[in-house]
Point group: none
Chain length 152, copies 2
């Protein structure tokens, strides 16, 4: 399970270094093999250990290609999915289209979200956090039953 945000850099060769605290877990989960694709709600990327991604692929596979919305989801998610394997120094290569979708420049945030990571440009992440907290505090959040069950 991944958690926490790490500030990392996208270097001139378009690589990011995975923080060491995650590497052991990634090697045992998936020998460093991951899949990166675009997020459909935010300008960020999603990075899954291969086994996790395969479950998602199964679900996508069961969508109907006759339904335009479901087909679109398949196209976007699968079309952008890119195999990423950690190299021997724990780095991943991010390809052009993905980099572009998330507007990644030098400063990047790697955000642990349990079974996956999100990859954000630093500025977009900070904006997301700021507006997120103010939305929650101003009560713009509808408390669903599931949320009420959360006691922090």
């Amino acid at each position: 399970m991944f958690r926490g945000t790490s500030a990392i850099t996208l270097d001139s060769k378009s690589r990011i270094t995975i923080p060491t605290k995650y590497r052991d877990e990634l090697v045992s989960d998936c020998q460093g093999k991951m899949v990166c694709t675009v997020d459909i709600q935010h300008p960020c990327l999603l990075l899954y250990p291969l086994p996790e991604w395969e479950e998602i692929e199964l679900k996508l596979c069961n969508l109907s290609s006759m339904n335009p919305q479901e087909r679109l989801l398949q196209q976007v998610l699968l079309g952008n999915a890119s195999d990423c394997e950690m190299d021997k120094s724990g780095r991943l290569l991010i390809n052009g289209p993905l980099r572009n979708h998330a507007s990644l420049e030098k400063s990047v945030m790697l955000v642990g979200q349990l079974k996956k990571f999100e990859i954000w440009s630093e500025s977009a992440w900070q904006a997301q956090m700021q507006q997120g907290i103010s939305k929650i505090q101003s009560g713009e959040i509808e408390l669903t039953e599931r949320l009420l069950d959360l006691s922090l």
Copy 2:
């Protein structure tokens, strides 16, 4: 179970010393491994022994990432969650974003709240206590059934 408020200092390396009275319990609960994240209602931090945090993580894991509100909560809580392990002198490192969320400067309050701690800047804590007590005394508090059941 933790209770009471301790005045502690955030030193120049952004560390706080856990008062010794809590250390034994923390070592036996979680070998000093804790998780710190932001509070979503107040400018303070929440510090959980790892096993306690993992229960919350399980609940967060069951939220739907397709629902924007539930996803936002995951992002805020998990994204800010930071593993904190006590070093050999019983100190914890507080990272920049967290320090910032709670506006922590030198004087910090560590507030025991049973299964977790809250971490406040001294001034924010005092303001919270003052206005909290006056709110209660002036009857601005809605007495829910659960509250009526409290006999002090």
